[in-house]
Amino acid sequence: MDRNKLYESILKKGSELGFEDLEVFFEEDKELSLGVFEGEVNEYSQSLTKGISIRGLLNEKMGYAYSEKVDEDTVFELLNQAMDNAKQIDSVDREFIFSGSKEYKEVKTYNPQLEKSEIEDKIKFLLETEKKALESDEKVYKANYTMYSQSRSYIEIYNSKGLRLFEKSNGAYAYLSLIIKDQDNFRTGSSFIVSRDFNDFSSDKLVEEALFKAKRKEGAKSTKSGKYDIVFENMAFASIIQAFMSAFYAESVQKGTSRLKGKKKVKIANDLITLVDDPYLDGAIASASFDKEGVCTKKKNIIEKGVLNNFLYNLKTAHKDGVETTGNANRGSFKSGVSTSGFNVYLQKGELEFSSMLDKIGNGMVITELQGLHAGLNPVSGDFSIMAQGYVFENGIYAYPVSDITVSANYFDILKSIELIANDLKFIMPSGEYTGSPSVYAGKLDISGE
């Protein structure tokens, strides 16, 4: 089936039906997921799927419809559904179908080598990883997850304003979680690697990190409730940043669900804080040349030296505020409508070595892991109260591990109270944005324990 012919027929029929403008979004995904357990492959999944979405403007209101049946027959049904949906919208905000940016920066999003390497090699890598994990320490009980997942995505945007864009991207991640027996308790430690280059996947790296994270919990127990000087380790703080990203979307501000309303160009954080959204970060997994509306992307400082520079916009929200779009339109998949998202988002690192940071503080607690983030936070107020693990430090040195505690604070207050930033920038598994942070000293926060 010639897809271009199909798209032309959709645009033509859509126009006849009454749409002012129409856009077709096509997506084809190839996925491979592998997992091993106790020396055997316990997960092996392969797929090739595709889907199409039509969105169209009727009286400047957008209606959407999608289908995983990509053929001439479903087209009529999709157009009718999209039309019906467009008729329901009574929002006064204008919506847009975009004709294209003047230029797009070329971004490397696809590595053919990743797909050429054999599945057998990937299985071997996983088996080797699990074997090394099990042999790494006598206390290792099991490796509950040793996984590899690879995906290739191809999207096409074709609309009645003449926009013709396509993008091929791929990437993979490997994930290891191991369990150690610690007297009556089990402790887990995990690690992951995200990359487009299979050479980056190292068993030793995965095992070393996972084991280190599990072992430093040995003997951990709860501690007295109270206020402690808190350092968030890089990955823990990155997960908090990611969880509260929606506060920076113009969409949330305009809908009255962000505390940052009216705060553009206002100092909302400590001078040390610069939060970057970089769609061109070398080798980073969320890099992109254009957003999901086809607008060219750009690198920006969301927060610059403590001042809120700008919100993240798409065409609709930018028009509502009378500003330029920042090229941050997102669609979760062809099945979702247009929303907002950053790309590779990170807190700019400082100059301080992590150990020097602990020295400067003297006594306090490092929070290394957070669990149940999605449940324990309020994206609107910024409040969070999350189960945590970490360790107490005295005179700048590791003293003893803690677990079964919660750390409670407010994200927006923390941005103001961060006094020190280390130089250990690290990224976490992508979920929406690909987010990274260095370790930060957040001042005195509430810890609940005994």
């Binding site: 106790e38 055997e40 316990n42 997960e43 092996y44 999944s45 392969q46 797929s47 090739l48 799927t49 979405s53 209606g63 419809a65 999608y66 289908s67 995983e68 049946k69 479903t74 999709l78 559904q81 019906d84 949906n85 467009a86 329901q88 009574d90 929002s91 006064v92 905000d93 599945i119 099991k142 979680s177 369990i179 089990f186 887990t188 809908k255 009255g256 669900t257 505390r259 409508g337 669990q371 149940g372 999605h374 449940a375 324990g376 936070l377 309020n378 609107v380 409040d383 109260s385 999350i386 189960m387 677990s403 079964d404 505690i405 919660t406 409670s408 604070a409 509430d446 609940s448 324990g449």
Partner: protein, 461 residues
């Protein structure tokens, strides 16, 4: 959706390299979503998911493949490719003959979702946000949505099973935001059912909208929760998320089979206090987590997980059943054809007890009354869980006093179950979405009010 003979050929092609079991899951799902922010309908989307998942076992190994190209050529090729992943040696295998198709009969739908006008939904959405916004001057914003889906599945396997099932679900959500200066707090309600549009006619959605607003106002006026170990009374309905996280996931064969659950090898042992009986029942009529057949084609059933504190059974799917030497319990579920099924919860609840909520409160000197719960999570390997309290109050001298905000309950599953010392008689179920390895699926949680004698409360004092 797919010809019986073609399905038989695909199942047979899947066994062409010596696999001992093959299964296909054919799915067509039509979904609609429409949402409102304030007084404006701002999003309307609908669409069709359409695909097939092919699974093959060889002993305890499995491979999975999925596609939405339904041409005979592609289906046979996909099946063969998956078969080669298990073994490169081709072998003869018998022709597969499927039984006569069995169709799911329960969970009747009266008003099919795609057969009624969308403007009925928009009228209801406007009523919801208007009610929430008008509840109190502190309410600054309200958002609501209605999502419905109609899933049609065909499940067949090399043992001859041939099932057709329909699962139609509808759910609405209403969020209210209360604001004081720059502070904002939320309240929400999100009831749903395995029903057609008649659900929206049966439920008092205006009452739910006002309740969401009431919770938001209570929270904006609330002080922070204290911290430390204390008794906590968790009220009914979504309070059942406690059991879901503290224990439920740990009883799924998904981790029990690998012995990476803290509840592995504990059948017959006392894992909870004697007054706790916990059930997972996939047959509850029109239940949010119910279905006639599970996603492997096994009839769903009422499974008693814990009886009077003793662990009676796990939730078991076919593959993990092989590893554990146990029969499947009708617990295999998946988000869609894109996921391999595994054992999951359906409608999970603590059985009603004999106490009264009033007595529980009056017999508590100092503690937390968690009237409404938010979400939670668990690490089944260590048993560590956490949940958010959506609406809470301080109990002092046996009385409910000031409202509290931002409390989190944390602990270890096996420990907490043993600390349940009172179970009330006001059992209620509430709807949620549960995420795990086979995707996000609708599940009911539930319980009567329960008292936990001691649990760590995370607050800000």
């Amino acid at each position: 959706m797919l010809d019986k003979l073609l399905i038989e050929n695909v199942l047979q092609a899947a066994l062409s390299t010596g696999g001992d079991f093959s299964e296909v899951f054919v799915e067509e799902k039509r979904a609609n979503s429409i949402s409102i922010t304030g007084k404006e309908i701002d999003n309307a989307n609908s669409g069709t998911d359409y695909g097939i998942g092919i699974r093959i076992f060889m002993g305890n190994k499995s491979v999975y493949s999925y596609t939405n190209d339904f041409s005979e050529k592609n289906l046979i090729e996909t099946a063969k490719k998956a078969a080669y992943a298990l073994s490169l040696e081709e072998c003869e295998n018998e022709k597969i003959v499927l039984e006569n198709i069995k169709k799911g009969k329960n969970h009747k739908i009266i008003l099919k979702p795609y057969e009624f006008a969308k403007n009925k939904k928009t009228d209801m959405l406007r009523e919801m946000t208007n009610s929430a916004l008008g509840y109190d001057s502190l309410i600054s914003q309200a958002k609501a949505s209605i999502i419905d889906s109609a899933q049609h599945v065909l499940i067949a396997n090399s043992l001859g099973t041939f099932i057709e099932d329909f699962r139609t679900r509808i759910r609405f959500s209403i969020h209210a935001i209360a604001q004081k200066d720059t502070e904002m707090m939320t309240g929400y309600r999100a009831p749903g059912a395995q029903k057609g549009f008649e659900f929206m006619n049966e439920i008092d959605y205006i009452k739910e909208a006002k309740e969401a607003a009431r919770i938001a106002v209570t929270n904006i006026n609330a002080g922070y929760s204290p911290s430390g170990k204390m008794p906590v009374i968790i009220d009914n309905g979504f309070g059942g998320v406690i059991f879901h996280e503290a224990c439920g996931h740990g009883l799924e064969a998904t981790s029990v089979a690998k012995k990476t659950s803290v509840f592995a090898d504990k059948i017959g042992q006392k894992v909870a206090s004697e007054i706790v009986t916990a059930i997972d029942d996939g047959t509850i009529e029109n239940g949010w987590g119910s279905s006639n057949y599970d996603d492997e084609g096994t009839k769903t059933r009422k499974n008693i997980l814990i009886e009077n504190g003793i662990l009676k059974g796990y939730m078991v799917d076919r593959l993990n059943g092989r590893k554990m030497g146990m029969e499947p319990t009708g617990s295999a579920r998946r988000q869609s054809y894109r996921y391999e099924p595994t054992s999951r919860m359906t409608n999970t609840y603590i059985q009603k007890g004999k106490s009264k909520l009033e007595d529980m409160i009056s017999s508590t000197d100092y503690g937390l009354y968690a009237k409404k719960m938010g979400g939670g999570s668990v690490n089944p390997a260590t048993g560590e869980f956490n949940f958010a309290v959506l609406e809470g109050y301080l109990i002092k001298n046996g009385k409910v006093t000031k409202p509290l905000r931002g409390a989190t309950l944390v602990g270890k599953g096996p420990e907490i179950l043993k600390k349940i010392d009172m179970v009330a008689d006001n059992l209620e179920l509430a709807q949620g979405m549960c995420g795990s390895v086979s995707g996000s699926i609708p599940t009911n949680v539930g319980q009567p009010a329960i008292r936990i004698s001691e649990i760590t409360v995370g607050g800000r004092d």
